[in-house]
Amino acid sequence: MAHLPLDMPAEVWERLQEHFPGALSPAEPPERGEGEDYPQATPHRMIRAVSRSLLMSRPRYEGVLVHSRHLLPVLKFLRDELGYVYLSNLTAVDYPEPLEQFPPHIDVVYHLFRLEGGGYVALHVHTTRDGAILPSITPEFPAANLQEREVWDMFGVRFEGHPDLRRLLMWEGFDGFPMRKDWREAYYEEEHKPFRSRFPDGGDPLYAEERTPSHANIRQSRQGLLDSSPPMDDEFSEADRLLYERMLSADQDPDKPLKTEEMILNMGPHHPSTHGVFRMAVRLDGETVRHLEPVFGYLHRNHEKIGERNTWLQNIPYTDRLDYLNGMTNSLAYCLAMEKLLGWKIPERAEYIRIIMSELSRVVNHMLAAGFFSNELGLYFTGSLYALEERELILDLFEAVSGGRMMFNYMRPGGVAADLPDGWLGQAKQLVHERLPRKVKEMQSFLLDNEILQARSMGVGALSKADAIACGVSGPVLRACGVPYDVRRAEPYGIYERFEFDVVTRQAGDVFARVALRFDEIWQSLKILRQALDQVPEGDIQSHRLSPRMRIPPGETYGRIEAPKGELGFYLVSDGGANPYRYHIRATSLLNLTPLSQLTRGGKIADIVAVLGSIDLTMGEVDR
């Protein structure tokens, strides 16, 4: 068992080997003919000579390395035969230098899960850095849609066969691929923090960034465009032209009895119901939505690049800014992933504190989601304010313990930053036992029993069970479709297995089910909170003394939690240094947007807002 890829059941490995003897073992003789479909991918010697033994020679390299030619068959086999139906994460890692026996390459990683629970299977596919190209899996796995676009955008890996390979976060015509290691951003100063200019010789920080040599390092060229793109015309920008072409070509109905003029309407980027700067280009036939394309990236700050410049610890406050309503769970996910690499155990008291914080965070998030949903239906701010009231009281608790109301910076690898102050538990108990049940009940009845809300949301934006799984949505959106999948139960982290709670589901999969499910989950969170608050033991809150430039042993991992909005994962690769080599976030809000077009199609334009509100997204997390 020692040479088995980490985190993979033996049975999966055996079945894979049995079915794909060539793809996974070194015995496969080189084949020229097949590679012609992907001409630029063939120069690799290594992708032919993939093997388990090669994989194992890189310390703690998880998963199976697959030839790009076998990628789709292997994925389909995993999905259809072995039950790995949930494609959770897809990302890439750039290796500009030769690594062990591998020449410079881009490593594309796929993480798949079973709905019955358990760990993941990781697949690695290598491609060259020049002319990187891989087969797209989007036609088979819709969950890969946005993630493949992101990998194209950030790494320049072209996915052959992707229906809509446009840039996701950067704009068309942007020069370069930002997540490649040799790409440098504007105001680039040094490869890694801490910067040498700060200490010991110091200086004047005023306008210091303007004095860095690369402060104007931003260019626009055609390098980022697809080769097939025709030259720009004057009427639209390149991005808009590609977008509108895509929209007009998609799902045209040739047999429409009455020929009507369709139009494209842009909702946003500045629209009060989009929870941030989010644009939806909608193709309308009268008031009926024919097609919708989400456009985002307006808030993009390349969080992942910043994360790779930072040291391990410096990333913790940055994670608070992803989904800014749930800073506690964001940093918890990151710290859990780090602890997986470090192999640390955390003290009992810290485990309980973490659970209390994440469940309180879930209550805040779900109440706010329901509140803002009522805002979206035209209740204006009344509903939201009832939710905000409870949020204030919970934020008081967060502030007392961490010092921040939204930007907590509270979780640490090995525990939490500070112990609970005196009287905190009493205050929290009073809130959880007395006030919250009363208020949640009140809000639930005034929202869900309201006939207008029911009329607007029942049967609107329904998603089937199979589509939800295929699209890789998670959290309440998935559970509202009748899939009882919750990371807290499927792959328990922390001490969740000690608590009694239910994974609640609703069957309808429509907007109403998603909103109502959030209330069901609040009740479960309160149940966990009541148990946890009574059981908090005395003791330490931190198992290790943290050093500012802590190092993490080489390896890679994908750590995930059930964040209030869904599955939040961190894919971390460490090369043994003080900085993450790769720091990728499986952003819940982004992945929950995958079926947006499907959910709104055929509905009225007013329903778009309701659907968007029921998905519950935060642009800070979508754009990163």
């Binding site: 801490p194 004047d204 204030e392 205050q427 309201n450």
Partner: protein
Amino acid sequence: MYGWGIIKTLWMTLYHFAMTYVEDVRSWLSRGEEGTGEGGSIPGVARGERTHGVFTVRYPSERRELPERYRNFPFFVIDAETEQLRCTACGICAQICPVQCIWIQRAKEPETGRPRRYPVSYYLDTSQCMTCGFCAEFCPFDAIKMDKDFELASYSRPGFVSAKDLAKPEAYHAGIHPTAYAEEAAKRK
């Protein structure tokens, strides 16, 4: 009955509106009593677990009492005994700072060039600071602490980088962080 949900919602709004004033009167009647101001303990604002009405704080005429751990931007502590900065120019804060907004110049002996244990200059760009509190958490000498002053608007960017406001006496630190200060003092003994 159709329409019942709407009536219920309207009733709820009315109830909250009325309770706000009822509780105002209640808290006015019980003014001066200990332990009545839950949560924020602001006179006139019943904010807490048992409140039924609205508890908006009318800032700036009313102010919430900030919890002890509330943090805004950092400041450097001037030691009460030596009346010098406690900072030993070790540079840990400048290294851990996620946005790299702390700039410290370490003193050197003019002849030998050997580093001395105090800073020549120190700057902190509060327009970049993300108020994470890492500097205060990792400082081994209790020389940098998080401030509670949050009304710091400025008309120009140089207004956010002023070294003279950065140093504050130890007594100020003791005043805003009584529990933490007592713990630190106990640890030093």
